[in-house]
Amino acid sequence: MVEKFSHDIAIVGAGAAGLRAAIAAATFSDKLSIGLLSKVYPMRSHTVSAEGGTAAVLKDYDSMDLHALDTIKGSDYLADQDAVELFVREAPSEVIQLEHWGCPWSREEGGKLAARAFGGMSVKRTLFAADKTGFHLLHTLLQHSLKYPSIVRYDEWFVLSLAVEGGAVKGLVALDLRTSELAFVSASAVIVATGGAGRIYQFTTNGVIKTGDGMAIAYRAGVPLKDMEFVQFHPTALPGTGILITEASRGEGGYLKNKDGERFLSRYTPEKMELGPRDILSRALVQEIREGRGFEGPFGAYLLLDLRHLGEEVIDSRLPFVRELALNYAKIDPVNEPIPVRPAQHYTMGGIHTDVNGRTPLPGVYSCGEAACVTINGANRLGSNSLSECLVFGRRAGQDAASFALSRREKGHNPGGDRPVSSKQYVSLAEEGMNSLLKKEGGQERLAEIREGLQSLMETKVGIFRESKGLREALREIRELKGRLLSAKVDDRGRTFNMELVHAFELDFMLDVAEAVAHSALTREESRGAHFRTDFPRRDDTSFLVHQLSYHTPQGPRLEKLAVNLTRWQPTERKY
C-alpha cells in the first residue's frame, strides 16, 4: 500500500530558497498546507557553507543602477536585465526581513548593518554575518519557519519524479529514506529548490548532496534547463578537498600571489586586482600555473592566498571560519602563513528555466535558488548575489505558487489538487526503477567507479577551458557511463537507510545534468563569462547573445534559443 499525502504546495529542497518560499507561502495565506521535502534535515542544506555575504543596496553611497550594472557586466551581458532590475530593487528589503527575523548580521559601530567589498561589486554592498553568512541565514530561516504550523516537513525524503497530467503538475513521487517506502504527494504547485549540481565535478566546493536532483527531475518532466554551459569555478579552494576559502578574504584585503611572490593579477585585472570577477580570476590562476609560476603540492599545483598583513584581530573578527578551516584542513594558520589555493567548481549558473515569479513553462511547477535559472547571473555570477537571489526569488516563487494554489481551490479543486488517475502509474514506475536496483542479480561495476569517471571527465573536458574535441568526447563518454550505470552493482538490498540506492538515483540524475552541460557547451561556439572555448576565444554577440534551452529527449538534449532581455545597458567589452 503506497502512502498518500496531499498539500496545496510541495516544496522540494529546504535550503535558503526552499525555506524562504515556504515562509512566503505560509504568510500569504494560513489556509494553505505546505509540504517541505528534503533529502537532508534543513540545516544540512548546502546554503550552510556560503561564507562571504549577501549583496543588497543599503548604503547611501550605493545605488540600484550601480548594483544592476555590476551584475549585468559580471554576467558578461547574458543576464536578463528586467530580472536584474527587479532583483536589485527587492534584495534590500529581503536583507532587512532576515534582520527582523534575527539573523546575526555583522554591524558597524553605531549598530547598522556592516558591508564589505566583494569581487565585481564597485562599492561595499555585501552584508555579512562574519564569514558564516550562509550558515546564519539558513539557521535563521529554519528557526523562523518553525513558527508556522502550516509548514509540514518531510525530512530525509528523496524526491524521484514529478507527476504531470493534462499539461500540469499533479504532485510528486518521493522515497522515505527511513524505510525506502515510496509515497505519492499530490500538490497543485511544486517548487523545486534543490540547489546546484557541483558534484558532477571532481574538485568542487559543494557538499556531497549537490547532485542536481531537482534539475534532472524537472528536465525529465518536460521543463527546459537554461544556460547549462555556464559553470562557475571559484578561484580559492583548498587543494585536495576543494573546501571553500571565501572571497571575503580578498574583500577584507587579502592578496593572491605566485611562486615569485608577485601579485600576478596586475596582469589580468589591473584595476580590480583581487576583487575581479570569479571567471577571470579562475582562468588567471590556471594560466599562472600553466606558465610555471605555481607551487607543486601533493594535490597538484596551487597558488597562495596571503592574509598575513590583515593581522590576527581582523582575521579573527571578520574571517574566523577561514582561520578555522585553514587550521583544520590545511594545517596552516593564516595569521602566520599564506593559504594554498586552487580553483574549484563552485556554482551552477544554469538551471531550471523560470520567469521572475519562479514559474516554469509547465503550469504549477516553480523553481528558485541555485536550481533555477531566472537569470540574473547570465554567464558569470557575482559573489554574494546568490544568497540574495535565494531570498528574493524564493519569496516570489512562494507567493506566486500560493496564489496559484489558492485560485485552484477557489475553482473547486480539492486542497492539494486532484489526485491524478496516473498517480499509481508514477509510483509503480519509480518502484520498478528501485526494484531493478535492489533485486538485480550480479552487477559489475561499483557506483563509485562510474561516479569518479563522470567527475574526472567533467573536470578535464568540460572544465575552465573547453574545446570542441574534448566536449564531443565528453558527450560520448557520458552516454557510455549511462549504459554502465544500468549494470552497476549494488551491495545493499535492505530498505532502511539504503544510501547506496539514493546514490544510484543521484548518479542517474547527475549524468543527465552533465549531458546538458556538455551539450550546451559544445553548441555555444564563443567565449563568454565562465564558458571559455579555446577554439572560439572571443565573445560573439551577433550569434550568441542568446540563452540556450535544453529539452530532454531519449536521444539527448534538444536545444532552443531564447533572446536575452536587454533594457538599459548595451553590451560592451568587459574589463576590470
Binding site: 557553507s49 532587512i96 527582523h100 555583522s106 554591524r107 549598530g111 525530512d155 557538499g207 578537498t241 537507510f497
Partner: protein
C-alpha cells in the same frame, strides 16, 4: 585523512551498505557526528592517526540507532522548536523602518550561542540526557538562551518559562561535558547555568512584587 574519508572509502569500495550521514565535509553542516574512540566528534574533522592505530567508530550515544551510524534525531528537532527560536515582539517592525540597530557589543552578547551547528555531540556527551531523554538538553537550551540575549527580542520571559519547565534547565547538573565536546566552541553549559539564574531572578522579582 579524516575518519569521514575512511568511511567513504569503505562505502565506495568495500561495502556499499554502510550507512552514515555527511555533506559539507568542512565542519559546518553538522551531519557527520559519531563516537570516535569513545569521544563524540565530527567525523569530517577527526583525523586518523598517522601511526596506524585502530580507530573505533560508533553511532552517537543517547539516540536510537536507525542503521550503522545513522541515529534518529526527530526528538532533537522537536526540542529545537519547543524553545521558540524566533524573534518575539509585541509590535513587529515594518520593513520600511529598516534594520534594528544592534551594536557590535550587543551582537557579541549572544553570538557564540548562535554558532551551534546542531551536530548533537553535546547530547551524546550529556549524562543528564543519558539518564532522562526528556531533558531539554544543551543545544536547545543554548538556542533559546541565544534569543533571550538578542537585543531585538522581547520574549525572554516566555522562553525562560519554556526552558525551565519539567525536564528543563534545572535538571542540568553542570558536568560541562557538552561544552567540552562542542566543535564550534559554543558553551551550552554556561547557557544552562545562566538560564537557571535568570529564571530564579525572575521568580524572585515576581515574589517581591507580590509582597509589596
Amino acid at each position: 585523512m579524516f575518519v569521514l574519508d575512511a568511511l567513504n572509502y569503505a562505502s565506495d569500495w568495500l561495502d556499499g551498505s554502510l550507512a552514515f550521514r555527511w555533506s559539507c565535509r568542512m565542519g559546518v553542516c553538522g551531519s557527520c557526528g559519531a563516537l570516535v574512540n569513545g569521544t563524540p566528534r565530527l567525523t569530517c574533522a577527526a583525523p586518523i592517526p598517522e601511526t596506524g592505530e585502530k580507530v573505533v567508530i560508533e553511532p552517537l550515544h543517547n539516540f536510537p540507532v536507525q542503521k550503522d551510524l545513522v541515529v534518529d534525531i526527530g526528538d532533537f528537532m522537536e526540542k529545537l522548536g519547543r524553545v521558540e527560536p524566533w524573534i518575539i515582539r509585541e509590535r513587529e517592525r515594518a520593513l520600511e523602518e529598516g534594520e534594528y540597530l544592534q551594536k557590535p557589543e550587543q551582537l557579541q552578547r549572544y553570538e557564540q550561542f548562535g554558532a551551534c551547528i546542531n551536530c548533537m555531540l553535546c547530547y551524546a556527551a550529556c549524562p543528564v540526557f543519558a539518564a532522562d531523554r526528556e531533558f531539554i538538553g544543551p543545544a536547545a537550551a543554548a538556542l533559546g538562551y541565544r534569543y533571550n540575549l538578542d537585543s531585538r527580542d522581547e520574549g525572554a520571559k516566555e522562553r525562560l518559562d519554556l526552558l525551565t519547565r519539567d525536564a528543563g534547565a534545572f535538571d542540568c547538573t553542570f558536568v560541562g561535558e557538552c561544552s567540552t565536546v562542542c566543535p564550534k566552541n559554543v558553551d551550552p553549559a554556561l547557557a544552562l547555568q545562566r538560564i537557571k539564574i535568570d529564571a530564579a531572578l525572575t521568580s524572585l522579582k515576581s515574589i517581591t512584587r507580590r509582597g509589596k
